[in-house]
Amino acid sequence: MAKKYRKTFAERNLIIIIILMWVFLAIVTGGRFSSSLNITNLVRQAAINGVVAVAMTFIIITGGIDLSVGSVVGLSGMVFATMTSSNLSIGMSIPLAIVISLLASAAVGLVNGIAIHDGKVPPFIATLGMMTAVRGLVMYISNGRMITGLPKEFKAFSSADFLGLPALAWTWIVIAVIAGLVMKYTKFGRNLYAIGSNPEAARLSGINIRLNMYFFYIVGAVLCGIAGLMLSTRLASGVPTAGQSYELDAIASVVIGGASMTGGVGTALGTVLGALIIQTIKNGGNLMGIDPFIMQMVIGAIIVLAVFFDTFFKSRGRRPKIFGKGKKVNAAQ
């Protein structure tokens, strides 16, 4: 008979990879990598892309893709800067400006959801259009110029620490943990996987695809809005080009994190680890003074290899033996 099946912990391999990378870097950089200042830097550097990647995880699990994430990052930061800058006349309070920035982001998500679900426009196309249009909107709001004069408390957030970790990193961690719990432990999360695995079967299971799709794209966009705010505290300004091409690192993080572009597969934890791996390569490369062009090649190779190993071992019906021993089976027939 079938042996009791132990739950696979897909993220284990990623954790092992990160540990190996960190140990390696700590050794070759003579401990500079593992200094607490650098680890602090690393998680803060990873935080903004990390939040965008968590947003992208939702979308990729639905089987879609969101190319407009970077533009939403730019939009939210720019809206916030416009609302609060002391150089401009509006001078809104920080909390209210945050709410408005996130509402603007949510609106983008809603339009994406409508175009994709009701308009039947493929996600790639719908969000490609949205990416361009929203970036145009950002340029329009700002006249293509940077906005400075943000409130002091807001700017201070990016360098603030809490329990030894930067506030930006905490923001990321809290978002990722909540996203992970929602995906795993709520009906909403289960609907996400159901729709991503088989939309027609999900519909027959009584799941309201329309509302859920709207919701996923809105959640994704709001998370990008938060990332936009994080970026503008880091930049201490609203920058019209902020967030440009962020979709690429986000997609890479999600895919390295084990998600499948065909939908139905992926976790917040995997994505967080994926984002950490990418940032570790960049940070480590800088520390080791590796040629930046070689670093680009390495990151490209890692994205493809991650997906390759994933599908390779899945298709062969076995797990990579290099990481821990394969599951032993008793011949108890």
């Binding site: 830097n41 150089n87 080009t241 091409s245």
Partner: protein, 319 residues
Amino acid sequence: MKKFLVLLVLALVAVSTFAAYEIAFIVKATDSDFWQYTIVGAKNAEYDLDGAINVTVYGPPSESDIDQQIAILENVVSTMPDAIVMSSTSSDAPSAILNDAYEAGIPIVLIDNFVYDTGYTAFLATDNAKGGSLAADLLVKNLEDRGIALEGKIGLISAMAGVQVLVDRDDGFKARMAEIAPDLEILPTRYIDNDIAKGANATEDLLIANNDIVGFFADNNHSGDGVARVIEEQGLGEKVIAVAYDSDPLEVEAVKSGALKGLIVQDPHGMGYKGVMFAFMALKGEAFPSYFDTGVYVITPDVVDESTGILDPFTRQRY
């Protein structure tokens, strides 16, 4: 449709301002302060000439859209303007189109970036290598003033790989450094995709990797913003001397706060203004130099307050 509307508007404008010269002003990108400044210059020239010319501005959203800029140029040429003032992103791609227009008698004024294999009326640019060497001078002077020995390392943060203007700046900087401070090692260049956050990341990483860094050179405004942000956050203003190229509001703030010790600033307003003026002079048959260095300014903390017009040409907007 859109093109048609543009043509219609152009035609109307042409009729209403009878005999005014049509001057097409094509920028590399519309999404950055620098090109917005050149536009201010061009529009100021239009204002000053008081009805003698009409300046129409064109440009792709981003500097990476080279083919879009070419398409724009083609469309502009087909409307047969009286003169074209262009800052081309590519030094080769528009050659044939520009040359045809030039042969057809349209004065061509190149600004900022040269284009090979085409006839042209005038070329106005900044000597970027010279700007780089001025940055080196400024950096070393600041070190000397503080009594910091001219040894250790210098970080070089470049906005993007493969952009000629930036390569010239970096080379100019490196060459001058080798002359005046040969013991300062310049670290391998870090490229940041013109992304401020990535600029900050690279700066943080270089500071961790090398505890003997005494200075940074950032070769445009976004790389300068990134460097400044880290120096500000870590309070390194007196230990690490950072000098950057270009100007934007964040850089100006950084100079005021001391995070940056100086900016090498071109004269985008002058480029736009003089570019249009040269085109006008060509149409009028007046004489002017075929090459003109629009020059660079060195903005240090002590002059920053008086340099608003250079740092933010929008304040010079007359129209």
